[in-house]
Amino acid sequence: MIALTEKVFDPGALLSEFCRGRQETGAVATFTGIARAEAGGTSILELEAYPGFTEAEIGKIADQARARFGLHDVSILHRVGKIAPGEPIVFVATAGAHRRAAFEACDFLMDYLKSRAPFWKKEHGPAGARWVEPHAQDHADAARWD
């Protein structure tokens, strides 16, 4: 599943669903990104996607991950719209025969999602709203896989 949602979601419900009925998957790795309060520095995060295009671009990277890490399955759910502190932003799950591949694929997908995926991010803070670009660290993380 590759999907966007405007609603708050429960990462645990997604993990339960993802694990169900697996007989040959030894390893499931997940990552959940949560909006941080930054001690009041950010009150609301807003994410804009290009519906259709964004899912398709993420799907291409998910296919790369399947091939590169020999995954059995991948699932990605990403919030769009306004996100309050403490709410999940993104959930990625990867399934493989062994743990190294599942971990690395999850890490790889998150590096892509945090730096290159087609989202536009606005932070609404005490000093007003501003569009943000990826951090240098996010670019450096993503470049590890090139």
Partner: protein
């Protein structure tokens, strides 16, 4: 008429995120928008702004059919 979409700060600069534009090529659409709204024109010409035609990134100019969807994409921030 092509459907034109603006994302991220481009939509804030223009004050709209979707409209119809009567033009038959990508650069003609951009020039048309810039002529109407110079601030938007400057934002569209900024480094890193990409153009998607029917949800595929296109480099350079290209003809635009009557039912086309043209999106201007500022640098993507990731999620």
């Amino acid at each position: 008429m092509a459907k034109v979409l603006l994302f991220g700060r481009l939509g804030d600069v223009a004050g709209w995120r979707e409209r119809q534009v009567a033009a038959t090529a990508l650069y003609a659409i951009r020039d048309c928008l810039a002529a109407e709204d110079p601030a938007l024109g400057e934002a569209l010409a900024a480094p890193g702004v990409q153009i998607a035609l029917n949800q595929a990134i296109v480099r350079g100019d290209a003809p635009v059919g009557p039912e086309a969807e043209v999106a201007f994409l500022p640098p993507m921030s990731g999620g």
